[in-house]
Amino acid sequence: MINNVENITVDNLLDKVASKMPLGFRFVTMTCVDCGEHFDILYHFDKNYELSNFRLSLKKGESLPSISGLIFAALVVENEIQDLFGVKVTGLVLDYEGRFLLTETAPERPLCRVPGVMMVEAGKPAEAAEVK
């Protein structure tokens, strides 16, 4: 039910994003969704109140190139995705290394649906926690 969605790949991500800005689009945000075997990474742009979206399917374990070199505003949301989903974002202009929103004692990758890291007990490293 989301209109204006174009599927893109890791290979053409930067070119696609770079093509948006000269057309007058405003970067709104990104959304990461855990789809089991892969993550859906959505890039939302706005022009005249119309949203235009890219959807990138990223296999778990693959790294995601940062667009923060092209769009500085993406810096915060890319760091958030790195924190909450454990997606490694490469080329960030400022990399918080998984400690943007989360403290050192917080559960790791809390929004990533991977056995062993989904239901960790607060204060324990994810690897040491039991799966409940």
Binding site: D34, L51, A73, L101
Partner: protein, 359 residues
């Protein structure tokens, strides 16, 4: 060559209502750059939302923010309604506008009061917050709550407001307008206030756009963007125009909020004048399925909800991008090159909500 110094601004600082740290890189008294450090009030609400059903989420996401709580639940409800093909009754749409604008007013009064406090004008701060109390009383009278209204629900609203109460809201607006007429000339014309705000923390229009600024922060830099003009709820039947200034400084951001206070008075009066009678919600039996993006204009700017349902009671994903989250990169641009003494005023001028930002 001068040696740069890094000092922490926050997370506990007299000017900050909520905890955020800025690591300021200074060349003597001038800020070279700023690095935001957040995470002090992250509560994992997006994760919790996946563990509650979509009806409970209506009340959970209201707790993202104590200032724009109603508009959070409104935006979420609009998204779920879009997924389920529901159209709330007209009366509910008007009530949603009235409560949204009451929230905008109390938020802007809170923000301008905090701004006055940030440059030491405590008397003005108290006067503005006293006026804000009238709005809080109006919300309590119409919903039974001052902050977390709990009135927005999937399909409409939970509570109706009697004609008598609507008249009392109109009377409250008369009092508020009278007090605004007394306070706002001081805020906008006082010499010392202008000295602290004019030409400080300038955000160029192009930079504002490139960095994704929203709300009064964007409008004060000349970007005419206000989602209310797109007509969600009952806004399509009311006169709404973006309040735009072009100087891009702290004064312009304050002026936009002052103009929006008067605009909200006008919108509420229009809404009460036009509100139809009838039911306030529609029943439903379906469950949310599919993906949807819902957006609305909060006091601080555009809020975006991404919702993904799977036909059950539980949502697969609930993602919120709040306006302050979008305004972090722009405020870093404002801080570069400013004086250390202006950092507090500049940060407060975007009306930051850290609880919203971190969820």
């Amino acid at each position: 060559m001068a040696k740069n110094t890094i000092i922490p601004f926050g997370p506990q600082h007299p000017v900050l209502p909520e905890p955020i740290q800025l690591r300021l890189v200074l060349d003597e008294e001038r800020v070279v750059s700023a690095i935001p450090v957040v995470g002090y009030v992250h509560r994992g609400l997006e994760k919790l939302a996946e563990q509650k059903d979509f009806l409970q989420d209506t009340y959970l996401i209201e707790r993202i923010c104590g200032i724009c709580s109603f508009i959070h639940s409104l935006t979420y409800s609009m998204g779920i309604e879009s997924m389920m093909g529901l159209t709330p009754p007209p009366r509910a749409q008007y009530l949603r506008v009235i409560w949204s604008e009451l929230h905008r007013m109390h938020s802007h009064l809170l923000a301008t009061g905090l701004l006055a406090d940030s440059f030491g004008f405590e008397n003005l701060f108290m006067q503005l917050w006293r006026t804000r109390e009238h709005i809080m009383d109006a919300m309590e009278a119409t919903t039974g709550a001052r902050v977390l209204l709990g009135t927005c629900c999937i399909g409409g609203v939970r509570k109706d407001v009697s004609e008598e109460l609507l008249k009392s809201v109109l009377q409250t607006l008369v009092t508020v307008e009278k007090e605004l007429d007394e306070h706002m000339p001081v805020l906008l014309n006082d010499y010392s206030v202008k000295q602290r705000l004019c030409g400080v923390g300038i955000l160029d229009k192009q930079v504002a756009y490139e960095r994704g600024a929203v709300g009064p922060t964007a409008r004060a830099s000349g970007i005419a963007m206000d989602l209310r003009t797109q007509g969600y709820a009952a806004y399509g039947e009311l006169d709404v125009e973006p309040m735009v200034e072009t100087d891009g400084d702290c004064y312009a951001r304050t002026k936009v909020r002052v103009r929006e206070l008067y605009q909200s008075l006008n919108i509420i009066r229009q809404a009460i004048g036009k509100i139809p009678s009838g039911s306030i919600n529609v029943p439903f039996k379906t469950k949310p399925d599919g993906e949807v993006i819902s957006r609305a204009e909060q006091p601080r700017g555009e809020v975006l909800y991404y919702l993904k349902g799977n036909g059950t009671d539980m949502l697969e994903r609930l993602r919120v991008r709040t306006p302050t989250f979008a305004n972090i990169p722009p405020v870093l641009a404002m801080l570069a090159g400013c004086e250390l003494a202006d950092v507090g005023v500049i940060v407060i001028s975007i009306d930051p909500c850290i609880s919203c930002t971190e969820r």
